[in-house]
């Protein structure tokens, strides 16, 4: 019983981490049609900023709060300078963002060297429920993920900003004709997606420690999750992330980890092949 509970918690917390990472990726892919290869590096940057705050003696949570804003700002600048040129061609966008990611990743590698740097958990210790202990920080991640998901959903569905964002996505020329500044909306969307990646990086760095390939590790899982969930809506990628995250965490409990690792990808690709629109089809929130 206790074992099953711990397993369920592990699966849930890994699922939450994948959802957190995919949120930004999914918003950019759904709203802008761009598969951002630099997203993993935005996660890495968020983690790096948190580490910097810790190394400079600031409280860790200060770094965690700063990370989304700094990464979001960087995303806004990059969108205006570079990403903007790629909208017409999705493949070129992949290559361009890959180049951006390469620059960011290697710069961070140069800054931290080839090390694995640890950042302590801001909320340490464990929560005890009877005989079972679960990590307090992982529990916090789950809570924050739920809050961020709710926040994103409300932002997109209930605010005028979200309405304009969706209008820009659905019909850019009509949106422009209605007086919405579409370039600004694209910039804001990209910045928002980047900020979510920065937040994800900041939150997961105590769990995974900081190393240059931290972002790359989650990038392909993130892409697969977005495709499984379905591009075009907010909820699709989140659902896909839930499925992929749960599967990747659950399968190693019942079979050899190597087989499980590969099986998740094979299943996902086969699923997308036969259902290209993904789990949840259609546009909207």
């Amino acid at each position: 019983m206790a074992n099953a509970f711990v397993a369920a918690f592990e699966i849930l917390s890994f699922g939450a981490i994948i959802v957190l990472i995919v949120l930004g990726l999914g918003i950019i892919a759904s709203m802008m049609g761009i598969f951002n290869f630099a997203q993993g590096e935005f996660v890495l940057l968020g983690a790096y900023i948190t580490y910097l705050a810790y190394a400079k003696g600031l409280p860790i949570w200060a770094g965690m709060v700063a990370a989304p804003f700094v990464v979001g700002g960087l995303g806004f600048v990059l969108e205006a300078l570079i990403i903007r040129r790629f909208y017409a061609a999705p493949i070129v966008a992949m290559l361009g963002t890959y180049a951006l990611g390469l620059i960011i990743r290697e710069s961070v590698r140069g800054l931290i060297g080839g090390f694995y740097l640890t950042v302590p958990e801001p909320i340490g210790g464990s929560i005890d429920i009877g005989a079972m202990h679960i990590s307090a920080w992982r529990f916090t991640i789950i809570v924050i993920t739920l809050l961020v998901m709710g926040f994103c959903y409300l932002l997109l569905s209930r605010t005028s900003f979200g309405l304009r964002m969706r209008a820009t996505l659905e019909n850019p020329s009509l949106a422009r004709a209605s007086g919405i500044s579409t370039p600004l909306m694209y910039g804001a969307t990209f910045a928002f997606g980047s900020a979510l990646a920065g937040l994800a990086g900041a939150l997961i760095v105590p769990v995974f420690s900081l190393y240059a390939d931290l972002g790359l590790r989650f990038l392909i899982q993130g892409f697969v999750a977005v495709m499984v969930g379905g591009v075009g809506s907010f909820i699709g990628p989140v659902a896909g992330a839930g499925v992929i995250g749960t599967l990747s965490a659950a399968l190693p409990w019942i079979m050899a980890p190597v087989v499980a690792d590969v099986l998740v990808f094979v299943l996902a690709i086969a699923f997308i092949k036969f259902r290209p629109q993904g789990l949840i089809a259609g546009k909207g929130v």
């Binding site: 290559l95 890959y98 390469l102 620059i103 690709i269 092949k273």
Partner: protein, 363 residues
């Protein structure tokens, strides 16, 4: 890319027009019409002569390095065929390269087969089979697959293979398969050096000529059409998905050949060889050199590898950052790669099929 599309659409009629001028004015000035479009053979000739002379002027350890570059150029050729000509973004080309490498390494380790006439066809066949399976799955089907799905599908395939190779004890896990016996021909063993170099160069030239023939044929014309406007090609009655699957398989076979040569040249295979790192590396070569020209892929491989070899001694940390910046600049401002500095748009597109000129001139 839209710029490219427009140019090609114009260039094809211009090409036919140019041919017509040459035919009509066969007694007049055909030389002038031909003179403007002779740069590509010159570039190819210069590269070939440079490659032939390289071992004579290079020191031994540089010849070994040059051999590796030639093998990678062969690999780049396979990607260029798939992306530059057919417009299929294969982000997992290393899957075929690496699986062939692993395949021949296992042949050499477990069955003691190192005969060149067995291992190279075996490697080619492995690459071909994997490409046929993956390409068939991703590209064929009732509904045409989106470009995004194909590129992410190949990327995922490569990543999954990397994870599998890392975790599978039989394949050596993280360390891969070390100290593979050298490739042999009778009692002769191909070890690193000029002989291996010329062997690889010969293979590259043969494969290059094969690809050149392929892309300048009617098949190549259909492929170029596929890249520019797939729907239009489908409306013309071509089976677009079949064409794509065929060229993807050919590309996989060439990648397999390159992979088996690489495994024997380096003497070991390791998981990165099937993974995302090598997959993206080959994309870099072709983008730098110029996609859609075969020689561009070769030049790209030589330049990227050469510069990184040269810089990695002193600027090991900075070089990948510079590479990323250069790549970004090329994508933004020179989408056709470095080759477009010397090669005009019209020549890049080239002419297709058998030339009617000789026939009409015959009495």
């Amino acid at each position: 890319m839209p710029k490219v599309m427009g140019a090609v659409k114009q260039a094809i009629p211009a090409e036919i027009g140019g041919e017509a001028v040459a035919v009509v004015g066969s007694s007049g000035a055909p030389a002038k019409a031909a003179a403007g479009r002779k740069i590509l053979p010159i570039v190819e000739g210069v590269v070939l002569v440079a490659a032939l002379l390289a071992p004579l002027v290079l020191q031994d350890y540089l010849t070994v390095f040059a051999t590796r570059v030639i093998i990678l150029a062969l690999f780049a050729l396979s990607f260029d065929l798939v992306w530059g000509y057919a417009g299929i973004m294969s982000f997992g080309q290393a899957l075929f390269f690496g699986s062939a490498g692993y395949g021949v390494a296992l042949l050499a380790r477990d069955l003691d087969i190192t005969n060149i006439f067995l291992v190279l066809p075996a490697g080619t066949l492995i690459g071909l089979t994997f490409a046929l399976l993956l390409g068939g799955f991703l590209l064929l089907g009732r509904h045409p697959s989106s470009v995004i799905f194909v590129s992410l599908g190949t990327l995922t395939g490569s990543y999954a293979a990397d994870r599998l190779a890392r975790g599978w004890y039989y394949l050596g896990g993280q360390n891969g398969i070390p100290s593979i016996a050298p490739m042999s021909l009778g009692s002769y063993e191909f070890t690193e050096g000029p002989a291996f170099y010329y062997l690889v160069l010969g293979i590259l030239v043969v494969v290059y000529l094969f690809c050149r023939f392929l892309v300048r044929s009617q098949f190549g014309l259909a492929l170029a059409g596929l890249r520019e406007n797939e729907q239009r090609i489908a409306f013309f009655g071509y089976k677009a998905q079949h064409l794509k699957a065929i060229i993807f398989t050919v590309g996989g076979a060439i990648a397999g050949l390159a992979g088996s040569l690489y495994a024997f040249h380096e003497g070991f295979v390791w998981p990165n060889m099937v993974g995302v790192v090598v997959s993206t590396q080959v994309v870099l070569y072709v983008l730098f050199g110029g996609s859609g020209t075969l020689i561009g892929a070769v030049i790209g491989a030589v330049i990227v590898e050469g510069v990184s070899f040269w810089l990695s001694d002193n600027y090991r940390d900075v070089w990948p950052i510079i590479l990323g910046l250069l790549l970004l600049l090329v994508i933004l401002f020179r989408p056709l790669g470095l080759i477009s500095f010397v090669l005009g748009e019209r020549e890049r597109v080239g002419s297709f099929g058998a030339r009617p000129k000789e026939k009409r001139n015959a009495p």
